[in-house]
């Protein structure tokens, strides 16, 4: 099972000090965070993509390429890549380039983006969100798998005999996850292609996550990619930890109370009860997240949100340390012990290359 961090990349004032770091500092801190994720033994670092303040990560492959140069084992991913407003041609080229630079340590998570005003900035209309996700992704797949593409669709200039360069590393496209909170069409899309499905699993009741994953698994089997329990599932999560759980609650509360998404609403206790947010000791996090598989089945990837709402960089680094040294080793052990042999691990470049080679040999 893969464990990692996903960042939204928000630039939020620290409510306890009133200070806001500069964009420069936030971008640099993000790189340090990703390097630390590798150092403590976690597997994945994923960055969000946003094109409006208060967020900084508008250019994921620039940042991920820079991180790739300073890491050797870390898998680089996105959370999410905007399949609606980005040109699929540019996605194909950017991430194939990143694949070459990172020697295959790349996958992507497709998302529609939930910020209405962003669409017109890129010449699109949010009412076409699902249709854009469907058409753009269908084109993106062809650009990665076919050397010469002639294509015509609704939302983009037609392509005549077009070749996206560079070609994917070893002829293997990056593995793709599709992220959605409540849109069955996206679970259906992931199932149709046999791609991964990721539920962000933060800010929402677990019942949403369970429903969407169950739908994806059922349709994955329907489309003949394997049994439902072999579908590739990823979950998000949100934690804040200190050795003493009361210390964790005390320290995190002002950040919770003023957080951009849910702040000034429910109490930390209510939100912890209703959503997977867990604020407490490492042991409490282990217990809550080890039980996720009871709701969604054995799954392949768990990402944590730990760096939002104005938390100081030093605190975020401590959280990574706690995850890497105290929480994830135990979660790995529990997940490995319960996972049946026929349930696959998350695909990687190496495993996909091996699968493609064995397919060639068997022909």
């Amino acid at each position: 099972m893969q464990f990692g961090i996903f960042t939204v990349g928000d630039l939020t004032t620290d409510p306890t000090t009133g200070t806001t770091v500069s964009e420069h500092q936030r971008v640099k801190d993000t790189v340090e965070l990703a390097k630390h994720v590798e150092q403590v033994g976690l597997d994945v670092f994923a960055t969000g993509e946003h094109h409006n303040p208060p967020f900084v990560p508008s250019s994921p492959t620039t940042t991920l390429g820079f991180i790739a140069a300073q890491t050797s084992r870390l898998l680089l991913s996105t959370s999410t890549t905007l399949i609606t407003t980005n040109d699929p041609v540019k996605i194909a080229e950017d991430y194939a380039t990143l694949q070459h630079l990172a020697d295959g340590r790349v996958d992507l998570m497709m998302g529609r983006g939930n910020t209405g005003p962003v669409y017109p900035w890129f010449g699109k209309d949010i009412r076409d969100g699902i249709a854009l996700a469907v058409e753009n992704y269908a084109l993106l797949r062809r650009l990665w798998t076919e050397d010469v593409v002639t294509w015509e669709g609704k939302y983009r200039t037609p392509l005549q005999s077009f070749t996206a360069t560079p070609r994917p590393l070893d002829g293997i496209a990056p593995f793709v996850w599709h992220g959605s909170i409540r849109s069955p069409e996206i679970a259906e899309q992931a199932a149709y292609y046999g791609d991964g499905f990721f539920h962000n699993n933060i800010f929402w009741p677990m019942s949403h996550t369970r429903q969407m994953v169950a739908l994806y698994r059922r349709r994955f089997e329907h489309y003949g990619h394997g049994s439902a329990d072999q579908a590739i599932v990823g979950l998000g999560g949100q934690v804040f930890m200190r050795a003493n759980s009361q210390d964790a609650v005390r320290e995190f509360r002002p950040y919770f109370d003023n957080a951009p998404v849910y702040g000034h609403g429910p109490s930390l206790e209510e939100f912890s009860r209703e959503t997977p947010l867990t604020v407490g000791s490492p042991q409490q996090v282990i217990e809550r997240y080890a039980a996720m598989a009871d709701s969604v089945g054995d799954y392949q990837r768990q990402l944590f949100l730990i760096d939002h709402a104005g938390l100081p960089h030093s605190t975020v680094m401590e959280q990574v340390e706690i995850l890497g040294t105290q929480v994830v080793p135990e979660l790995r052990r529990i997940a490995a012990a319960r996972k049946p042999a026929h349930v696959p691990d998350a695909p990687t470049h190496a495993s996909r290359l091996a699968a493609a080679r064995s397919l060639e040999v068997s022909r």
């Binding site: 259906e188 429903q211 849910y262």
Partner: protein
């Protein structure tokens, strides 16, 4: 033994959503009278009914939270599910600043899309003066029309003077009975609503992907 009642399907679920804040609240009283009259009117038509009352005051915090988080939690979730699966809704609000109260509107704001589609709704409102009575027609009915609910023709408005007695034959009791009879006619003429779709149930199969691709 076969009674007229047992020949009918299961009891109809009537849910009162009331936004009164006082204790006692004339808004809640009006809701209860409408519910009792509706139950009686349904019995006359050979149909049993159960009545649940949602006091929005009890959900005020959860309603504000739901606006911010995007999902109703705890007891509010149950109230939302009850309304979404009701055979009939009796919606009662006090008039604040010439319209329904913010609390009342917030509840309908957090319902899932389609929750009230086709649901018979009886509207009622209370205020200190009858000069606010068109709130029923100018604020409440358009909102329920947008939600695709089926509103009964008679809305019931109760001003302070109505609680004092009013003219025999023209008074509050008559309006309550007329509106309840209209609601009972709507409810008894249709099949019982589906069982509540509670959170955690399986999602239906979506549009097959080939169809999405072909659009």
């Amino acid at each position: 033994m076969t009674s007229p009642l047992s020949s009918q399907s299961r009891p109809r679920r009537v849910v009162v959503v009331q936004a009164g804040l006082g204790q006692p609240s004339s808004t809640r009283l009006l809701g209860e009278r409408l519910a009792a009259a509706t139950r009686d009117a349904l019995l006359e038509r050979g149909q049993e009914a159960t009545v649940d009352v949602v006091d929005l005051r009890e959900h005020a915090h959860d309603l504000a939270n739901a606006l911010l988080t995007g999902f109703p939690s705890g007891a509010l979730r149950e109230a939302v599910d009850a309304v979404a699966s009701a055979d009939a809704v009796i919606a009662v609000t006090p008039v604040f600043q010439a319209s329904y109260s913010g609390l009342f509107k917030t509840f309908f704001d957090v319902l899932d899309e389609g929750s009230l589609r086709g649901t018979p709704v009886l509207m009622a409102a209370t205020a200190g003066t009858a000069r606010h009575s068109l709130v029923l027609e100018h604020a409440m009915r358009p909102m329920f029309a947008y939600l695709k609910a089926v509103t009964v023709p008679t809305g019931v408005f109760a001003a302070s003077e109505d609680w004092g007695g009013g003219d025999p034959g023209q008074g509050l009791s008559t309006r309550v009975e007329v509106a309840a009879a209209e609601l009972a006619d709507l409810v008894s003429g249709r099949a019982a609503a589906a069982a509540p779709a509670r959170s955690g149930t399986e999602l239906a199969d979506p549009v097959p992907f080939e169809e999405l691709l072909a659009r």
